[in-house]
Symmetry: C2
Subunit: 198 residues, 2 copies
């Protein structure tokens, strides 16, 4: 059966979201078609008005409602550390840890020559500008441990070290709770090379 | 970190959809917050306008744009068979088979005394009304093979058989491609009791 037009329109829209394939989109669309009108209006309004209300922090590039995000606007977070991540969702992941007290810098991408993404295409210049006033003593590179993330970290380290600022990379190794036998080779190799004396 | 308000609003809205937990909702919300405005407007509009455009077929209860659904409005489907299912999505599943040429009846629920769902709460009377004019010679009960689905099928069979209409139940057994050793006991038991001579 061809789907009726309003439902196939919902399926097309939903399947544009990450991790939502045709089958999941169809399941959601069938559910939404049977929901009370008010509930569907609430969801549509939350997405559209939510999206309109979000902008990027003028300093760090994180999602924000105001010109400065909730982290950059708190003076107690200005402790001389900047943690560099790829996406706003990575800021959220770091904050869930409740451990890091410094600032962030969101690159909005990673260097990827294969995809034509060079240093000028991500927020590297903005990071360099932030390092000029001497208030930052450590830059923590927390890009993902994949090819692009490692390349970006290496590039940034080469740029920043000559400024006399400490550059660190988050550790990679065995995740807590994962048995050795289930770890992939790259993770194991990172865990070995990053070993420390007990 | 507490999420900023527009993002937590998106997360709350998305997590009301089936199969979307807090974590998936957060992943989607972070993605949507970074999407182009026009794309998000398209998605919100597809959901809201799609929902507004969907109603129930006045005869079978399937999703429809017009008063009669695309199946009930085609005379070649009026072959004397009605397949009874629980939800509109079940009609879609049956139609994907491209094999069944008759009509449908969507109950919009199954009998469930534990949840207070009785015969008057689902579209059973509407089904009985459709059977009055003598044009239907077979009712195929295709409710799910769970407790409520079986109870509903048994109830309907008791109601319809005295009218001289053939009542059939779709077969339950081993799904194609599933090895015996992985089948659950109830499925195996259904497969045994439904065995037929070769």
């Amino acid at each position: 059966m061809e789907q009726i037009e309003p439902i196939s329109r919902m399926i097309n829209a939903l399947s544009r979201l990450p991790g939502i394939g045709q089958k999941t989109a169809a399941r959601l669309a069938y559910h939404i078609a049977g929901m009370p009108l008010d509930d569907v209006r609430d969801i549509a309004a939350a997405l559209w008005q939510g999206r309109k209300a979000v902008r990027y922090c003028a300093v760090c590039g994180n999602y924000s409602v105001d010109e400065l995000c909730s982290i950059c606007s708190r003076t107690e977070r200005h402790n001389g550390q900047i943690c560099v991540v790829r996406d706003p969702k990575d800021v959220n992941a770091m904050e869930r840890m409740h451990d890091y007290q410094g600032l962030y810098h969101v690159l909005h991408g990673t260097l990827s020559p294969m995809d034509g993404v060079g240093p000028k295409d991500i927020r590297i210049q903005e990071l360099m500008d932030r390092l000029q006033d001497g208030s930052i003593h450590e830059v923590i590179l927390a890009t993902n441990p994949d090819i692009e993330g490692e390349a970006t970290a290496a590039y940034l380290a080469r740029m920043i070290k000559p400024m006399g600022i400490t550059v660190t990379r988050i550790a990679h190794g065995l995740p807590i709770g994962l048995d050795l036998e289930y770890a992939d080779e790259v993770t194991l190799s990172k865990a070995m090379s990053g070993r420390h004396e007990m």
